[in-house]
């Protein structure tokens, strides 16, 4: 009986503390997918940093890659009466019911990093995502500018066949080099977004293109494949970054290490800071009451060897990539 009272007392105190903590301006619930990749971990830690910067209380629910967990988390946030809900949706469909519940409770919902398929886009306030076509285009334009009219044969390491970033980053790169007739993609094969596959496929490319002497540049749909390919280039007796230019997408810490050693040339950032623009949009919405645009595109920033890659590496290393 005594212990029961103690528990009650303890929980009252805990609730009182929770009450003071939520005295922050805003409380936002964030339903995160789970730990699927280093980028995802970085997104979570950057979200926490951005929330702290703005004095927002951020409640993160890890869904362990399951939609039902996300739906549970959203219902939980609605019951707690948070001021807004962020969702990084694990799949595109099946959100209508739970989002309608949030709408009924007048809680705005912002989608991060991925979008959903719905007939009623009034169910969410806005979506903050990167434009993967644009990422490829930035990479392509960089290459066109760098080779400056010289003939250049490019080999391409694609992501997982049929995945949307692979399709879009390929499309975007082709748009980026469309005006440069001197640049040609001579070989394109999938490296499944992984280091070991990137290395194996690059070994094949090197053999097939006269020991790599015919290749002027490598475009990889993500940095991990580029890191693997760089090793293959070195083992073939060529200098990555000089004999073969290396450009990729994502901007994970390891590519900055390669760039600081002169072995990679450029990367296009898929920023893990999706929460920052979302917080800004939310604040503007709360202040003025005017709904933001349905899509907020994050910046696809280009990093080259000139951007002090060593410093960026140190900054990014701690983010949990």
């Amino acid at each position: 009986m005594i212990s029961m009272k103690r528990i009650l007392l303890a929980s009252t105190i805990a609730m009182a503390f929770a009450g003071t903590a939520s005295a922050a301006d805003l409380t936002v619930g964030f339903s995160q997918i789970g730990s699927e990749s280093g980028w995802r971990a970085a997104e979570t830690s950057v979200s926490k940093i951005e929330a702290k910067k703005r004095g927002v209380e951020l409640k993160i629910a890890d869904a362990q890659q399951k939609q039902e967990n996300q739906i549970k988390a959203i219902r939980g946030f609605v019951a707690q009466g948070v001021d807004a809900i962020f969702i990084a949706p694990v799949v595109a469909t099946g959100w209508d019911t739970v989002l309608a519940e949030a709408k009924e409770a007048k809680i705005p919902v912002i989608l991060l990093d991925r979008t959903i398929e719905t007939t009623n886009d009034g169910l969410y306030l806005t979506a903050v995502t990167s434009d993967t076509v644009h990422e490829g285009k930035v990479a392509g334009e960089w290459l066109a500018k760098t080779v400056a009219g010289k003939d250049c044969k490019v080999v391409e390491l694609q992501g997982t066949v049929g995945s949307s970033p692979a399709i879009n980053r390929k499309k975007g790169f082709e748009q980026g080099i469309a005006s440069a007739s001197n640049i040609k993609i001579v070989r394109s094969q999938t490296g499944d977004f992984t280091r070991s596959k990137g290395k194996e496929v690059m070994e094949g490319f090197l053999k097939a293109e006269n020991g790599g002497k015919n290749i002027c540049a490598l475009y990889a749909h993500n940095d991990d494949m580029a890191v693997g390919a760089i090793q293959a280039i070195k083992e073939a007796g060529l200098k990555p970054g000089k004999d073969i230019l290396v450009v990729s997408v994502d901007a994970v810490p390891d590519i900055f290490k390669a760039m600081s050693e002169g072995e990679a040339n450029a990367t296009v950032e898929l920023t893990p800071n999706m929460a920052g623009p979302a917080f800004d949009a939310l604040k503007a919405f709360k202040d003025s009451g005017k709904a933001p645009a349905k899509w907020i595109q994050t910046e696809s920033k280009l990093y080259t060897q000139a951007d002090d890659p060593k410093k960026v590496y140190e900054e990014k290393k701690g983010l949990g990539y």
């Binding site: 990749s37 094949g204 053999k207 097939a208 090793q231 007796g237 390891d254 949990g320």
Partner: protein
């Protein structure tokens, strides 16, 4: 002896023919396929790639053959690879010396195999279910060890296992060849091979005959785990990092396929480790060929499936005595004329 080796060759004919055919197709797709040169004191060429990239699957197939011969299967080898790679990478980063790292990683593989063996031998779980547990859990353990990120290292001693070479031959090939030699010697120069076949054909009969089948199963599964750990170290050393999400992903299926292409029955019994290794080389020759051919990646899986169907059909045709039948037909027709 001569007759014996001729019989062995006839039995291996479908596999050898398939390999020759695939190599020839690779040559057609890429005329420089058989060129080999020395690059930084290391052999360099597509043929070397086939062996080098095939080495992890050859090693897996060696262990998998003994398991399948005992009428089992080990689905966990891919996950065990991820665990051993993750452990090797994190321990290296933490500053442990290379021999300790290697022993710890191999020891973990043995333990994983032992776990599978206990479930199969002492708890009588179906091997496919027993090893499925570790297949799922193992990858999780690997992710826990690396904390979800790719752990990279720069320790030359460990990297040597993936990209080093001795007398110009890449280390993975040497390791696979050495393990192949040791495994075949131990299995065929002692009664061990016979005992494995006997529990594969009928475990209870073997037990009644006085065979300690439980102990033997423990040894077999532990050996398979050991092989997986070795392959995991090679793969991690090759990319200088442990990728818990992707290391060894689906390689258990490649290993099983290699054993099947090699002609060992999934129902246990007679087996050949050498033929399984040949099966692994056939799979990799096909993979390398697809990379060199320049087909769009959308065709990769279809091409693979087609080649495998043809190989397996040829094999089943020959094991059903198809060639002898054709020969007889041909002769009888000739006689009529």
């Amino acid at each position: 002896m001569n007759r014996l080796s001729k019989a062995a060759l006839t039995k291996a004919a479908p596999q050898l023919l398939s390999l020759a055919l695939i190599l020839f197709l690779n040559y057609l797709a890429f005329p420089g396929f058989f060129e080999i040169r020395l690059q930084d004191g290391r052999l360099f060429g597509s043929l070397i790639d086939v062996l080098n990239r095939g080495a992890p699957v050859i090693i897996l197939a060696i262990g998998m053959t003994t398991v399948i011969a005992s009428r089992g299967v080990d689905l966990s080898v891919g996950a065990v690879m991820a665990v051993s790679g993750a452990l090797a990478a994190t321990m290296t980063v933490a500053g442990y010396p290379v021999p300790v790292v290697i022993l710890a990683a191999l020891g973990t593989g043995l333990l994983c195999g032992l776990w599978n063996g206990i479930l199969v031998a002492y708890f009588d779980l179906q091997p496919i279910v027993a090893t499925l547990i570790l297949m799922v859990a193992g990858r999780g353990i690997a992710q826990l060890i690396t904390e979800g990120s790719i752990v990279t290292f720069n320790e030359p001693g460990l990297i040597f296992f993936g990209t080093g070479s001795f007398a110009g031959i890449p280390m993975p090939i040497l390791i696979a060849a050495f393990l192949l030699f040791v495994a075949i010697t131990v299995v065929r120069r002692t009664a061990l091979g016979l005992l494995i076949e006997s529990i594969g054909i009928n475990r209870s009969a073997s037990s009644y005959a006085g065979l300690n089948s439980k102990l033997l199963l423990l040894v077999i599964y532990s050996f398979c785990g050991f092989c997986a750990a070795l392959a995991g170290i090679i793969i991690a050393a090759d990319i200088r990092g442990a990728d818990a999400n992707n290391a060894g992903l689906w390689l258990e299926l490649d290993a099983i396929l290699a054993v099947v292409i090699g002609g060992t029955s999934l129902f246990g019994g007679r087996f050949s480790i050498l033929m399984s290794a040949l099966g692994a080389i056939i799979i990799q020759a096909m993979n390398t060929g697809i990379l060199l051919s320049g087909f769009p990646p959308e065709y990769n899986l279809i091409l693979k499936a087609l080649v495998i169907i043809v190989i397996l059909l040829a094999q089943s045709f020959s094991s059903l005595g198809g060639w002898a039948f054709l020969k007889a037909e041909f002769r009888s027709k000739g006689a009529k004329r």
